[in-house]
């Protein structure tokens, strides 16, 4: 099916998420939609898939203009989107999640559903148990199910939004195989939304590149990587020279950690981090990096093994004890975990103090907050609430709350969703910290960031550390293989 997007505009207040984008997509091909985080890819695809309306512009399917009321309407017209977090229902069984939303009478037709599931899953070599509960499936399996549902619903145009985060290399191969078959053999139009160059080059026939809400280029594939890089970034990003830094004593040591949770277990995790060192944790989503960080922070206690903070055994310590011992944990969800939307910046600063009097000295606190705001370049006032700040400013403010000095900083996705400038700025802050002697341990899904910013990188796979490498001695390609489990 031929899809055309003409002059799509979507503004969120002053932010121009999509600024007049036009695309032309024919059936039988796989298109890549490339761009950095925040380039506007997801917004555009959400419009195409009917999840949200455009402010202006037209969508044409087979040269007929269409308007979608909802994703279901879009699917009826033949456009289906597979989200990064598939739109399924964890407490439901596979077969119920599959059937929800279909026309065909009040009573659920299980027999037909089973037949369809069996046919489709065998065609694409997926394995699906209709009676399993969705919350027992892996991400890859949930994706497969959702794909099947979209295909059964008549999708001729399939959009896949960052589908390879959090699935194994095996599942990725399977997915790519299916995508090739769907496009080249069955004539469907596939769109792969990604920020990963290698994948687009591996899979797609044609690529569109978005930057800052605009279409900045397109190319046939195969094409040299530098061409794509140039279109995505405008220029090849320079690896900023990092000043050499001598590391201090060991700040954090994990010895044979074993942490068992419902979904995942860490096994035999051991590593050491020294003062002033920046250690990056790389791995697919669900490989254990986050669990490791939370264990070091005291949010979870290890079942076996030990953790040492500067030679002190802290294995069973609580989160608050670790806080008092000079550990800071910054979670990825800013308003869900870290900031309180309804509290003012000053109130946050007061709460974050390690020592406090019984009565609050509001004047002092406000002055202190003003200083921090200025120093960390947060756009806001001491009396603004955290919910009023923009995402980037919230991230900066989270860092402004951190105390000095700190032994250990544990960061989940420190620059997620931030533009380049803000991300650079955060890293400048973190390097300042390392100068003070703090050890920085962070996790990120962006391999470029991991390589560029870390001294060493610990690669997680399946709850274990696959390997620890020096950042300067590896590259994105090798790292990509490692996180996929190939040692």
């Amino acid at each position: 099916m031929r899809v055309e997007l003409r002059q799509i505009r979507k503004y969120f207040g002053p932010v121009k998420a999509n600024d007049g984008i036009s695309l032309d997509l024919e059936g039988g091909k796989i298109f890549g939609l490339l761009g950095e985080n925040g380039a506007g890819k997801s917004t555009l695809m959400k419009i195409l898939s009917g999840y949200q309306p455009a402010d202006s512009g037209t969508i044409l399917l087979e040269n007929e203009p269409v308007v979608f009321e909802s994703p279901a309407g879009a699917l009826d017209a033949g456009v289906g989107m597979l989200y990064q977090d598939p739109h399924d229902f964890p407490p439901f069984r596979v077969i119920d999640s599959y059937l929800l939303g279909r026309d065909g009478g009040i009573s659920l037709n299980y027999r037909q559903a089973r037949r369809e599931l069996a046919t489709l899953s065998s065609r694409y070599e997926f394995e699906i148990d209709p009676t399993a509960y969705i919350d027992t499936l892996s991400m890859g399996e949930r994706q497969q199910l959702e794909l099947i549902r979209l295909l059964a619903g008549g999708a001729e145009v399939l959009i896949l939004d960052e589908p390879t985060t959090g699935i194994s290399a095996e599942q990725k191969e399977l997915l790519f195989e299916s995508m090739r078959r769907l496009a080249h053999e069955e004539g469907k139009t596939l769109i792969l939304v990604s920020h990963k160059l290698e994948e687009v080059q591996e899979l797609c026939d044609h690529a569109y590149v978005l930057r800052r809400g605009q279409l900045v280029g397109e190319t046939e594939i195969p094409c040299p990587t530098e061409k794509l890089v140039q279109m995505m970034f405008g220029q090849v990003p320079e690896r900023s020279p990092r000043p050499p830094f001598t590391l201090g004593e060991t700040v954090l040591e994990a010895r044979d950690l074993r942490v068992r949770t419902y979904r995942l277990s860490l096994e035999n995790v051991s590593l050491q981090v020294q003062a002033g060192e920046v250690l990056g944790l790389a791995g697919l989503e669900g490989s254990g990096q986050r669990l490791f960080l939370q264990t070091c922070a005291g949010l979870i206690n290890p079942d076996e093994g030990d953790i040492f903070l500067k030679d002190k055994k802290v294995g069973g310590w609580s989160y608050h004890q670790m806080q008092q011992a000079g550990t800071a944990y910054v979670s990825a969800g800013r308003l869900e975990a870290g900031l309180v939307a309804g509290l003012s910046l000053t109130e946050h600063v007061v709460l974050a103090q390690p020592e406090h009097d019984f009565m609050i000295d509001w004047e002092n606190a406000r002055a202190d907050t003003g200083q921090r705001i200025a120093h960390y370049q947060v756009i806001g006032r001491p009396d603004s609430t955290a919910g009023e700040l923009s995402g980037g400013n919230q991230q900066r403010f989270l860092f402004a709350l951190l105390n000095h000095p700190l032994n250990l900083l544990l960061l989940e996705h420190p620059t997620r969703g931030l533009d380049i400038r803000s991300a650079n700025w955060i890293w400048e802050l973190l390097y300042e910290r390392r100068q003070e002697g703090s050890a920085v341990v962070f996790m990120s899904a962006d391999l470029d960031e991991v390589i560029e910013r870390s001294d060493r990188i610990a690669v997680f796979f399946g709850g274990r550390i696959l390997r620890i490498v020096n950042a300067s001695e590896t590259n994105v390609e090798e790292l990509g293989h490692l996180i996929g489990g190939e040692a």
Binding site: G13, P53, D55, Y319, H320, Q323, Y329, S331, L335, E336, A337, G338, L339, V340, A341, G342, L343, E347, H348, V350, L351, A352, H356, D357, F358, M359, I360, W362, G387, L401
Partner: protein, 374 residues
């Protein structure tokens, strides 16, 4: 939201709080007309019932005190994001605590009274702590533990009245024998109003005000109530603060119970709490959780409810009319209380889906924990 408001909009914002009041009066008037009663007569009867003569006015004051104490306590628990439905039981236990001292101990009046008040606070606080621990350790929502404990407290009262504490002439389920006059709070004239209790209430309010606005603990509660997980990451211990907040409220509620049993009544009675706990919840909601408004609204409630009793005596209309008047007022405030609600209705009518309107209007504490009804 543009900062230039037309003068019409300004009037709207100023006048808006009156709408629930007017709506409630209209609704009640309609009910009265439905029953063939004269609204003017009824409202006048209520007014006279509340302020007709000095003794009535003093009764209003006397009812007002425990209502204020309970409301002050609820401000603390609401700040922490808790729905302390169990406040009724905490008042009752406070009354029991005070009664226990009154019946078993005989000391010179100042000491006696002090001991009674302390016992009341302790009993209320411990009863509240029970709810708190059921929540923090057992994940039982405080609405249900509160409910159950309310009923258990009432049953306990009935047991005491008809059993170990029955008056010498035999258990009649009405109440215990009257307490020794020295055990009671000093009253003003022939009324049931104790000026001492007013003093205590003022102190309580000041404490609550300072605690919530000026102490680190109050800030911790505020964070807890708005986002428990973020608060935890910021260093706030959910269990500790929940228990402390509940105990603070329980102590104040217990104090209210003591006032009831040592001034309004002179003995422990069957419905000792008089529904004051639930009323306090309404008071705080009507005051949109602002401490400054609480005393006035509590006074209003007290006047209306006391007036309704006379209404029933005079006009044969059921005294629940007072509850209806105040209840409708609270309902309207909850539904339409914030002037920004107009914006919400207007925006929806225009079909503006572009911007998802930001935060909700009146921030009800514990809105975020509704999903934790488990």
């Amino acid at each position: 939201m543009s900062s230039e408001r037309t003068s019409a909009q300004k009037w709207m914002t100023l006048g808006w709080p009156l709408v629930p009041v007017i709506a409630a009066i209209l609704f009640t008037t309609a009910l009265l007309v439905l029953f063939g009663a004269s609204p003017v007569e009824s409202f006048t009867a209520m007014w006279r019932g509340a302020f007709g003569d000095q003794s009535k006015t003093l009764s209003v004051l006397a009812f007002w005190i425990p209502l204020m104490l309970a409301s002050a306590g609820l401000l603390v628990t609401f700040t922490a994001g808790l729905w302390n439905i169990g406040i009724e039981g905490q008042i009752v236990m406070g009354a029991i605590g005070a009664s226990w001292i009154a019946l078993t101990v005989q000391l010179p009046a100042p000491l006696q009274i002090t001991l009674e008040l302390v016992a009341a606070m302790a009993a209320g606080a411990l009863w509240a702590a029970l709810s708190a621990f059921l929540k923090t350790r057992g994940r039982v929502h405080e609405i249900f533990s509160g409910l159950a404990l309310n009923n258990l407290a009432i049953i306990f009262t009935n047991y005491l009245i008809s059993g170990p504490w029955q008056p010498p002439e035999g258990g009649t389920f009405r109440g215990t024998a009257p307490f020794d006059p020295d055990a009671l709070l000093p009253l003003f004239g022939e009324s049931r109003f104790s000026p001492l209790s007013l003093l205590i209430t003022v102190v309580a309010f000041v404490l609550v005000f300072v605690a919530l606005r000026g102490t680190f603990w109050g800030l911790k509660l505020k964070a807890l109530g708005k986002n428990a997980y973020s608060a935890f990451l910021l260093g706030v211990s959910s269990e500790r603060e929940t228990v402390l907040a509940m105990m603070f409220c329980g102590a104040l509620a217990g104090l209210g119970g003591a006032v009831r049993v040592l001034s309004w009544f002179d003995s422990l009675r069957q419905s000792i709490s008089g529904g004051i706990g639930f009323l306090a919840l309404l008071v705080v909601m009507l005051a949109t959780y602002r401490i400054v408004l609480v005393p006035f609204i509590a006074f209003f409630f007290s006047a209306v409810l006391n007036g309704s009793i006379t209404l029933q005596l005079r006009t044969q209309l059921h005294s629940s009319l007072g509850g209806i008047l105040t209840g409708v007022m609270v309902l309207f405030v909850l539904l339409f209380g914030d002037p920004r609600v107009l914006d919400i209705i207007r925006r929806k009518a225009k079909g503006d889906d572009d911007k998802t309107p930001e935060t909700t209007t009146v921030e009800h504490p514990a809105d975020t924990t509704v999903g934790d009804i488990l």
